[in-house]
Symmetry: C2
Subunit: 448 residues, 2 copies
């Protein structure tokens, strides 16, 4: 166990150990993963997707670009699992030997798939190039396998069936390029797995929360056990920014939907104020939608976060509709001259203070003429702490038509983690402010 | 193969396949990796460290917190490899079963290590807490194993020896918390591996380059083959920000140092202008040192990068000594009012233009009174492109005592990748400007 979690998480992980009828091995081929040049995010992505459709990943294996090692791992995987997902080794170079090894293991030959070949050739032709001879290998398919053309690259998806004690097994060989693999998984592989005998009917929903930790959430959801009937699960998926709650059911469609509705209603009743979205949404994206809806604009005045809040907001496509800009006021002179923080405030209370955070938020709101101003000032470490203001001291401010306020937070010692936590806390403050503005005082807000 | 590389890379990877005498399996234990909640960065880190000391990682395996699966994988690993690195499952909860499984596989019992127990107890006592009973398990060690106390957590490192055809094998069980694992690897495990029979004597050095791609670097280094004598290798390690060149030798100390010196001299002669640092340095950190050395300060005016450049610069501890601040001028009004870009420039040439980039760099340098001003303006996508200025159009500017200029770059369609590439290109521009300033015109620069 890398991280420790509350009892709800343990509960939700337990069902993985019931050994469902569909078991998957994820086999990654490539020296560059083994030597640590590339982190195996593909395997994590596939693992998460499998869990979402109720299938338990049983094992992940990484082997080098060597025929004997690949063959051995492939054979082991097809004994242990009835779903084997392979990535890598499908390119056109001499290092790419997956298709040869697969043909060997299946004791069959490689045949040219003329349809794939013409698609690959056409892809080069469209750019005015001749297809290099080495790319002929992209159209070689083990006899008896199904090949699906790659809309983004040249390596096709190769699908084979094999005998397994639990029924017919599925072998899928995919390119290692993440978005090509992801496309094949979503469009071809996962739908086939869901049709396999023994595959669970899974219904699921993810609620996104911010501003609350696992243990506090566990407390808030006391009594949730009553909603976690057979086949209904709740998983906590925390990261530095959000705590995701994944509700899932392996019961029948009708029963599942009913059970999840009841569970969701319970969670929203107990923890609704921390829920900001669902599924694949991001906090920044949701905030952008809300700002747009309210016709409001925002500007940032950042000291310690050094531009990270603006960076996160501008990661949202179309953010120029509601984000006007900001000032990174690392130096105190910039706070004074670009934001209008008064020198006496800095002298009397210091740069890391409630008063400075307030004046920064007000200042950027006034100078950039936005509905809302946000600010950060603090000591993120590793150096720069004092006795009265140790590393981790952090103030954030918000100014809008309903007033200006600053909130203090106690962060840790890690500079990068502190930037993450500080920016998330500030975005959460904006979320709650928008709620207050839209509920309480929408008239004056629209006119601001 | 996930990514394609030039011939030098192939050359450097080939030696991995020579099956050196020390072979390692990396075994990760934990449901949270399998279900994709956590990406297996530990395995990548360990793989990279092993390669650095000349040991080939032969396989990476991830298994769930289940005794039979762990035992099976452990037995397989101890047959296939003489070094087995295990992480996870050493915590104090009932899910943490690694030490029990190891004792089973070695057919031995668990014994309390009194020294470890007193260290763990003392760690709780220092915080004024009684040690929870469950933490007693942290001091249980398989008989015959060596236990090393954890300076950061409670789970110790467990080291066992086993018989292997290639000589005595080493089993190391480490906690899954990254920095605890990293500490044990560097302080205890890697030194022991280097002492094993058959472990290569490796000498290595990494040169960091920016502003040049793999294929261009391959061209520049034509003729490098003459320096890659038996046991001397050069590997290209590219990522979004830099291209690292790893020089390594498995020859004797003296011969190795000589061979690497010759190789490095050749590389510096051919590609020195792209080399910005060595080893674990970062471009931002190196720039900070250079700015400090020159007594220079910098400010940023960011449009399309939305604060990301300021964020990268302020990730450097102590950056407040040379980074004064910046303006994120997303809206054109902010460009005019906060940076002094003229309205006629915006009208005539548009926000994404050489002229605007220049005025932004000059403006932020003047207003924040720094030695150097940096600017970005562009269309990072996915939307916002026009026929004359398609998505990917990007201008960056720099203003200093030796003048103001703007440079155009053609980026792609991916917003996040574009932010990475644009910010790296701008930092590289700053690097080259600093070089010019310090070489050519240091007098006027210091007086700026």
């Amino acid at each position: 166990m890398v991280s420790k979690s509350g009892s709800l998480v343990d509960r939700s992980w337990r069902p993985l150990k019931r050994t469902p009828a569909v078991k998957a091995t994820i086999l990654t081929i490539g020296d560059e993963i083994l030597i640590g040049q590339i982190v195996n995010t593909n395997a994590a992505w596939m693992g998460e997707r499998l869990v979402e459709i109720g299938v338990s990943p049983a094992k992940m294996v990484v082997v080098p670009d060597q025929a004997d090692r690949i063959a051995e791992s492939l054979r082991e995987a097809m004994v242990a699992s009835n779903v084997v997902l392979v990535t890598g080794g499908l390119g056109p170079t001499h290092d790419d030997i997956t298709r040869d090894v697969v043909a060997d293991v299946f004791d069959t030959t490689l045949e040219t798939d003329e349809e794939i070949l013409s698609i690959v050739r056409e892809r080069f032709a469209r750019r005015g190039w001749d297809m290099p001879a080495s790319n002929h290998s992209q159209a070689l398919v083990p006899a008896g396998f199904e090949a699906v053309a790659n809309p983004a690259g040249t390596a096709p998806l190769l699908l084979g069936r094999f005998d397994h004690p639990d029924g017919p097994g599925l072998l899928a060989c995919m390119p290692g390029v993440p978005y090509e693999m992801q496309h094949f998984m979503d469009a071809e592989v996962l739908p086939r797995i869901r049709c396999m005998e023994g595959a669970p009917t899974i219904i699921q929903k993810t609620l996104l929360t911010v501003g609350i930790g696992e243990s506090h959430m566990t407390e808030r959801l006391a009594g949730v056990e009553d909603y976690l009937v057979e086949g209904v699960q709740l998983a906590f998926l925390p990261n530095l920014r959000t705590l995701r709650l994944r509700l899932s059911s392996t019961r029948s469609q009708r029963e599942g939907h009913e059970a999840l509705s009841r569970l969701e209603a319970f969670i929203r009743d107990r923890a609704g104020r921390w829920i900001f979205g669902e599924g694949e949404e991001t906090l920044e994206g949701v905030l952008g939608d809300k700002l747009l809806e309210a016709g409001a604009t925002v500007a940032t005045a950042e000291s310690c976060t050094g531009g990270f809040v603006a960076h996160r907001l501008t990661n949202v496509p179309g953010s120029s509709d509601w984000f006007m800009g900001g000032v990174v006021s690392y130096d105190n002179a910039v706070k004074v001259e670009q934001l209008g923080v008064s020198e006496s405030t800095l002298r009397e209370f210091g740069a890391v203070s409630e008063q400075t955070a307030r004046e920064m938020a007000e200042g950027v709101r006034n100078r950039l003429r936005t509905s809302i101003g946000l600010s950060t000032t603090g000591i993120l470490g590793p150096g720069g702490g004092t006795e009265s203001k140790p590393v981790g001291t952090f103030w954030m401010g918000i100014s809008s038509s309903i007033g200006t306020r600053a909130v203090r937070l106690r962060l840790g010692n890690d500079r990068m983690r502190n930037k993450e936590r500080a920016s998330t806390a500030l975005l959460d403050l904006l979320r709650r402010e928008l709620q207050r503005m839209m509920e309480g005082d929408s008239e004056s807000f629209h006119n601001s």
